[in-house]
Symmetry: C2
Subunit: 221 residues, 2 copies
DNA sequence: AGGCTCTTTTAGGCTGCCCTAAATTTTGTA
DNA sequence: TACAAAATTTAGGGCAGCCTAAAAGAGCCT
């Protein structure tokens, strides 16, 4: 296996992320968008990644990861999420502060380091945003979860994840006390603006906008 | 302050290291040697670093760090050594395994991360090899220490550091049980090959070669 | 001082990764 | 189906960081 650059790794991760979101071959524009580079630069890189057999690439048809590309991307996700757990659990950063640091830490190359970090953290299955952490073999733990927006009236559940990872959203959730593990009980839905009324932790009634409800993952209980 | 690349950081660190060792302006060849690059490439980089006012450079005269170059290099040393402590204390790596990982980790950019890591580790003053960790302001803690080779007969002391950081040396020290904190009592010196006889931890007599004695730092007590 | 050797710099070139502008292909819609 | 708009690729270029070969400077020895 040839050496792979920091930049190549970032492209693979972007492709992985977009593919996961959209479930179809990934377009040049989508990548250029995700990475803040021009489409022409993306095409350049796609040729190189294709050369190294990390992606399947046919001109004008979009790309998909090969098995080895997928393995690398998954491993980056594993490292990113483990480092996020480290930053939150051990260094007491909050969930909205860790992304940029993890973005750098995920490029540290050392299998042994990752495995020992995993052990040090107690083999966590989810990161501070509720996203699953793949194991060393690349397997994700799945969970039955739904956007709060899709729950039926009367449902009780627990906040287990977020869709939007922006600082603004995460800080807003902190203000609302809608952190991971919070218990919610869906009382009512207002058709006018699709906002919802919930009881938080069995105590406080709260109205959540459609946008919030859409970006919060709930596990029913 | 402009952005500084990974590579530029490595040059600054190399210059810092050589200057510390040799106490005079650092030559192009010394850098090329330290970094495993050709002298012509070094000249190239020296021009760029000089342009950014990170080094003082006059053709054919060798280089020294400017204040801002020095600050950056010192901060890299701080990060390197803190991460080494983390790897040994928290992830249970041994002192001969951590260098390459720390070499990568030292390039992570985040002041806040470094400070929290420092706190998490209990503000260590020395790394796993006994080298001092500069504080956030760049100040090193000094210690009265001598190569074992220079001790007088009869001296008692404690192993506090090593000069040679090679895996081979460190692993050999482990075999000899000459780890940091070990107590030594210098019994005798053999002029023939400059080897020394010691008592280790008040118990075991041992002969150490000149090379070992030269590379072990002792604090008298 | 002259000459030899070692060190350093200059010249010219390559690769990775990025860009803009222009050409080409695909797609959506009249 | 044809054509305009959007997406993508090609062409050509820049910069960082590396290299080799050749030129230039410094240091030393007689």
């Amino acid at each position: 296996m040839e050496a792979i650059s920091h930049t190549e790794e970032n492209y693979l991760k972007a492709i992985f992320k977009i593919a996961e979101r959209e479930g179809k071959p990934v377009s040049t524009n989508a990548i250029s968008n995700e990475m803040n580079t021009k489409a022409a630069s993306v095409t350049d890189m796609l040729k190189r990644l294709s050369e190294k057999e990390l992606i399947h690439y046919e001109k004008y048809k979009g790309v998909t990861l090969t098995d080895s590309g997928n393995r690398i991307a998954t491993h980056l996700v594993r490292k990113h999420r483990l480092w996020e757990v480290f930053l939150v659990e051990k260094l007491h950063f909050s969930w909205d502060e860790v992304h940029d640091m993890a973005e750098q830490l995920e490029h540290i190359h050392s299998e042994e380091l990752v495995e020992r970090l995993d052990e040090f953290l107690g083999f966590p299955k989810f990161d501070p945003h509720g996203d699953p952490i793949p194991d060393a073999a690349g397997n994700f733990t799945f969970r039955k979860q739904l956007p709060m927006l899709d729950l039926e009236i009367g449902t009780k559940g627990v906040v287990v994840g977020v869709q939007d990872h922006s600082t603004a959203f995460l800080q807003y959730l902190d203000r609302l006390e809608l952190v991971l593990g919070a218990e919610v009980h869906l009382l009512e839905r207002f058709d006018y603006d699709e906002s919802v009324k919930i009881i938080l932790n069995g105590q406080k009634e709260q109205i959540l906008s459609k946008k919030v409800a859409q970006n919060l993952f709930i596990q029913k209980k």
